[in-house]
Symmetry: C2
Subunit: 130 residues, 2 copies
């Protein structure tokens, strides 16, 4: 038995950058399921990893509901039943397509921003050495 690190909610909050309130919310939405000790939530390294996945997914604009189904893919990955595997394959394909499209849109927006940025720099330079 390895003594794995365990965290209280405030501690996890500090480590992750999320607030305790947000962490509880994620649990209420089914994204986290910490063990309980005398009613208090106790988090493991696995929970910590899950939480960073959640925060990263949030940062790219996913809703908690989406993230939930996303996280379920991790859980089911190991399960060997064919139906499960097929489900995982289908859902990951969807998510991948969606993220690729999002990425493409970011690239378009980036291209336009760079145009404006460079153009303005040129203009400023021209105006200065005149």
């Amino acid at each position: 038995m390895e003594a794995q690190p365990l965290y209280g909610i405030t501690e996890l909050a500090a480590l992750s950058g999320a607030t305790p309130r947000a962490i509880r919310l994620y649990e209420a939405k089914g994204l986290l399921k910490p063990r309980r000790v005398n009613g208090a939530r106790v988090y493991t390294a696995v929970d910590r990893t899950r939480l960073s996945l959640i925060l990263r997914a949030k940062a790219i604009g996913s809703t908690l509901a989406e993230i939930r189904t996303f996280l379920e893919l991790y859980g089911r990955e190991g399960e060997g039943r064919e139906k499960q595997l097929e489900y995982v394959i289908a859902r990951t394909a969807e998510k991948i397509a969606e993220l690729e499209s999002r990425r493409a849109k970011i690239d378009e927006t980036l291209a336009e921003l760079r145009l404006i940025h460079e153009g303005s720099k040129q203009r400023l330079a021209a105006r200065r050495d005149r």
Copy 2:
């Protein structure tokens, strides 16, 4: 005087995929400023382009407030005063950095999804030709 195409709100909605309600909301938030004819909103091709920028920005997870400042960059781009140019250069740099970071996170998430996806495919194949 070129006769440019003009659109009513329902028409623009149909063309863009947004609802009239959403379009009015964007105006209320300062993202669009259509001309008025007898009180009714009239949109030009320029408004149409702006709207697609808005929708694209929304699709990548920007809030309307962010998009607003973003759109102002387009407006100010042409203005030649130095302060304006400096402002535009600074803000576009910020936005660019932000989007690049977002893009990187999407890439990380994509990498993980692809691992799960491919792994599951392998598993399924292994199980089938056994």
